[in-house]
């Protein structure tokens, strides 16, 4: 399958890249790892006039565990993130990075591309909701930093201007006694998840939940959150009964579309089950347990 013809550009710097995108206009698209974009182009769901290849731009391929913020360069691949010290320090990152698609896709796909595509089934946006991450965007006008919850506006829609690129993802290092888990349920490795759940929490003395962030993926046009479910858990000892109540509350807020991956009811059932698994794993990790993550296959 051939995509429609396009002109190819390979700028040498970030400024040159945003300059080119600005000059070429809305019909041009940036190309990073291409693992979402190229299938879209091959199916001719999009026919950009120009592709600006940003994969080799210097300075956007890094992972940094700073005092204030953890920072991930937008061109970091899923594979690099999955193997990084950052992923060892924050296990929910490892769950996500090492569970996306298959090794071949992880070797090419980038976190910046995943976030920018805002595909409702993409793993990174959902995961980044649980860490209250911020997205650093760069255009000719300079930088702006936008919380992920504002960055994603709708399915396949972000606040990015056509001549603006994501350069960095940052979030606060989770405090002591924190744990998280991200589980995606997939029909096969290469497939997008049918449903996914992320839970990141901090426990205080007596296993009381001090802080919690919950997000569901592939469960609506944007990652699904629930203030009600988070309020239910905060300040309480996390029993299975309480977690089940929270699962009901957040799944109630979900609107998973019926499609080839399953009916809405089927997806809701999967979401409830994944929620319980992810919450229990997050609690164990907050208590210091070392548990390898894995995506569940049918």
């Amino acid at each position: 399958m051939y995509p429609a013809p396009f002109c190819y550009h390979r700028p040498g710097s970030l400024d040159e890249a945003v300059g080119l995108l600005s000059e070429l206009g809305e019909a041009a698209k940036p190309l990073a790892g291409g693992q979402s974009l190229i299938p879209i182009l091959k199916l001719r769901m999009d026919e950009p006039t120009d592709l600006v290849d940003i994969a080799r731009l210097p300075g956007l391929h890094f992972m940094q565990n700073g005092d204030e913020n953890m920072r991930i360069g937008a061109l970091s691949t899923h594979a690099h993130i999955g193997r990084s010290d950052l992923a060892s320090a924050v296990p929910i990152l490892s769950d996500c990075a090492n569970g996306i698609a298959d090794p071949q896709v992880r070797a090419r796909g980038t976190i910046g591309g995943s976030v920018s595509s805002a595909d409702p089934s993409c793993d990174w946006p959902t995961l980044l909701y649980t860490l209250d991450a911020e997205i650093v965007c760069h255009s000719k006008a300079g930088n702006r930093t936008v919380p992920i919850r504002e960055f994603i506006r709708d399915s396949y829609t972000t606040i990015l201007d056509y001549a603006e690129l994501v350069t960095e993802i940052r979030f606060k290092a989770p405090p002591a006694n924190s744990g998280g888990a991200y589980i995606g349920f997939k029909k096969s490795a290469s497939a997008y998840p049918t449903a996914a759940v992320g839970v990141q929490l901090t426990l205080a003395d007596g296993n009381v939940c001090q802080n919690v962030r919950l997000a569901l993926g592939a469960a609506g046009p944007r990652p699904v959150t629930s203030d009600e479910a988070e309020r239910l858990l905060c300040g309480k000892v996390l029993t299975s009964a309480l977690l089940k109540q929270a699962a009901e509350a957040i799944v109630e807020a979900a609107d998973p579309p019926a499609d080839a991956r399953g009916s809405s009811d089927f997806k809701r059932a999967i979401l409830r089950s994944l929620f319980m698994q992810a919450a229990h794993r997050a609690i164990e990790r907050a208590g210091g347990a070392q548990i390898m993550g894995k995506h569940e296959y049918v």
Binding site: M1, Y2, P3, A4, P5, F6, C7, Y8, R10, L31, G34, Q35, I38, P39, L41, K42, T49, L51, D53, A55, A79, A101, D102, P103, Q104, V105, A107, R108, S188, A189, S190, A191
Partner: protein, 163 residues
């Protein structure tokens, strides 16, 4: 696009030989190999990034060459299934796939071999789980995978103990 079709010069090293060509930017890497260079060992299976038949090694990573433009591989080093055999002798992985019956129709085999080669470079003594995880992006509709796993284990042993 109303103007003449753009052609981009690329230099890509494939199995140790550097090839220079001028290509249309929309040409996929797998098509570059098969149509431009004439190396047809890398197969096009699903053409949608699912099946892994088109897997090759680019700069040390197993990648799906149906989901990569050839211009993106400019300056890169590629190993394809044709690069495995040395001096008329099959690579231990190829021998093991043959001996352990790790293929039936053989369509997925080039991709299986290339993914496995990357795994063995990283983990000389992989467990069954490592192998299955490594091959999770490579589909086989004949074997049921059992013998593929056995073949990779046999090749790993052969490579560890030296030929």
């Amino acid at each position: 696009m109303s103007e003449a079709i753009q052609r981009i010069p690329v230099e890509i090293t494939i199995n140790g030989t550097c090839y220079k060509r001028e290509i249309e930017p929309r040409m996929l890497l797998v098509e570059f190999l098969r149509e431009e260079i004439g190396l047809t060992g890398t197969h096009i299976g699903c053409d949608t990034s699912y099946c892994g038949a088109c897997t090759l090694i680019l700069d040390g990573d197993a990648v799906k060459s149906c989901t990569l433009f050839a211009v993106q591989a400019d300056g890169g080093e590629i190993v394809t299934v044709e690069g495995l055999e040395k001096d008329g002798e099959l690579h231990p992985l190829q021998q093991a796939f043959s001996q352990e019956h790790g293929l039936q129709c053989g369509y997925c085999t080039p991709g299986m071999l290339m993914s496995s080669l990357v795994l063995l470079a990283d983990k000389p003594d992989p467990g069954e789980k490592d192998i299955r995880k490594c091959l999770s992006g490579n589909l086989c509709r004949c074997t049921g995978y059992q013998n593929i796993v056995k073949a990779v284990q046999a090749a790993a042993k052969e490579l560890r103990e030296g030929r």
